[in-house]
Symmetry: C2
Subunit: 334 residues, 2 copies
DNA sequence: TTGTACGCGTTATCAC
DNA sequence: GTGATAACGCGTACAA
């Protein structure tokens, strides 16, 4: 029913082997023959069966990206960068959301991805994630984006430095009680979280301010979480005068909380976010901007390189962050 | 090197055919044998080769979603819904961004998707898109989300009605000069755009207000576009007193423009968005909310049904929208 | 209920 | 440079 390489071979008057070589531009084919074959294939509107090609060659021509979330700005933006590079490279991109490890079977990604992709791009997953562990054991080419792990290639920002930038900015403005809105409650293995906490604590210490555990609250990296976190901070007997949020989306939630309390960011409470979200500008939010789309592109390119040259050693690329100062830390009047 | 069905067959003491049947739960296998085979496969950590299975069965077990954008909220949210359903159905999901038809070869999606997927989910693409045209000709199962086309299954909202809700709301508030910030300049084949314009015009007419072409400006469905659009409206000799934006993201941009002009939404200018974006609440934006994630899920389910039963006729599902009134249209004081 | 054997459409390895 | 042909790993008549 559907056209096969044999049809093209017959029509072109050559063997299937030659068609295969010609269509893939393998070089060891007479240029004239090759061109002829290509013409015929074109005329017939023939497209190689990806499936058969995969089975025979052992390469799938596709990669998977496993991510904890899709619609959150950071991940959606990473995806944009990844997709662009993969499309250019003519690679299929499989999208896989890593389910909550608590509710789903461990290493689901591994089972679903085995024999389906040549490599995997892992977005911001904790190194202890069963998915990552399984993938590693399988010796599947993996590149991490947004987290690091010994032995694996990764593209990240310097989270410690980013947090330092944010916190130092607040210190410079004279704040003494600087709170932190972070991710999950309790210390997790989630790299950006740990590193940003580290940067925050470092600066406090250097500034001679002592860290107060009550000022460190979880926000789960969501708007709702950020709002709840800010509410709890405002309910403290001695609320902070400044807050560093580990993500812009949490900062947006915090902004809402402030507003509902009749407070103004920048005047009543200094607020710094993290990410460089599109909407940070609109909301006049000071933030530590990271080149998210570029992170995605760089990660994708690294993985492609790794697939092309299996012997390539792991590379850890670190992209720069910049502090973008806006009204949420500098406004002086309501 | 890698485990095959033969290894499992040998180890379990049965034929490969039985293994194949048992592992797929085909029924015509002795329950005891089946269980035994499953155990062995499990112990060996065997996973069927998706590639070989595809070649033999003719089904790829994967679907593609082609979308004009990934990080825009609406699409990222649709994707979340789609991905959830596909993961539950154990279907691979290929992500493909449909490039700008002007710069890319026509029907790129078709060539890249042929023989790679069983069906395609098309997000909000104009029916004249070369991708859609090619897919149709190929008789590939297709479900549209966010747009409609005779002969194809689709899941949409009632865009006309949504626009009516928004415009009527503004009319009810007593506005006489109601502007519209839309998509691309000039009339396009992009369904939501056309329909929303239609609903807007209908209400104006019913209200005895005459449409003013100068009050209809393109915003390209981006924040930047929305901002520029609002700027141009404000530069008019007789600016509108209210604006209906075809998307929340454009409304956000419009909000910024207002702010830069020292104006307040709701007090100096009424503003209604469209989508029900997460952040509309934070920005106190009145909007026509649509169940975006559900749209994605419904579309995905429809496509799955279509794959299971090729004879199923096309279905057009329409999900409801609701007007969410907030301060951007009702605030009375700056 | 189970096993045998062929076919799925390419790629890759040899000869030529 | 080109052509046979044997894998690739599984599904599925068909036979038993």
């Amino acid at each position: 029913m559907t056209l096969t390489i044999r049809d093209v071979a017959r029509e072109a008057g050559v063997s299937t082997a030659t068609v295969s070589r010609a269509l893939r531009g393998l070089g060891n084919v007479d240029p004239v023959t090759a061109e002829h074959v290509r013409r015929v294939a074109d005329r017939l509107d023939y497209v190689v069966s990806a499936t058969a090609s995969r089975l025979a060659s052992g390469r799938t021509g596709s990669v998977a990206v496993v991510t904890p979330a899709i619609s959150r700005w950071y991940f959606a933006t990473l995806l944009t960068g990844v997709e662009r590079v993969m499309q250019e490279a003519d690679m299929d991109l499989l999208l896989h959301r890593s389910a909550d490890p608590k509710v789903s079977s461990p290493a689901l990604a591994d089972r679903r991805l085995r024999s389906r992709v040549d490599g995997v791009l892992v977005l911001s997953l904790p190194s202890t994630s069963p998915d990552v562990v399984a993938l590693r054991r399988r010796r599947m080419p993996v590149t991490l984006i947004g987290s690091r792990l010994a032995g694996l290639s990764s593209v990240t920002i310097d989270d410690v430095e980013g947090a330092r930038l944010a916190t130092q900015h607040l210190v410079n403005l004279g704040h003494q009680r600087i709170a932190l809105i972070g991710g999950a409650p309790g210390p997790g293995p989630f790299i950006p979280e740990v590193s940003r906490l580290e940067g925050y604590l470092e600066v406090l210490e250097q500034a001679g301010l002592k860290a107060d555990a009550r000022l460190q609250v979880p926000g789960n990296f969501t708007m709702a979480g950020g709002e709840a976190a800010m509410n709890s901070l405002l309910a403290l007997r001695r609320p902070p005068s400044a807050v560093f949020c580990m993500s812009d989306e949490m900062a947006f939630g915090a902004l809402r909380a402030l507003r509902r309390h009749g407070l103004t960011a920048g005047a009543d409470m200094a607020l710094v976010g993290f990410d460089g979200h599109d909407m940070a500008d609109l909301l006049d939010l000071t933030t530590v901007a990271q080149p998210v789309e570029e992170l995605g592109e760089a990660g994708a390119r690294d993985l492609l390189g790794r697939l092309a040259d299996e012997t390539a050693g792991p590379v850890e690329r670190i992209l720069p962050t910049t502090l973008v100062v806006r009204g949420s830390t500098t406004r002086t009047t309501s």
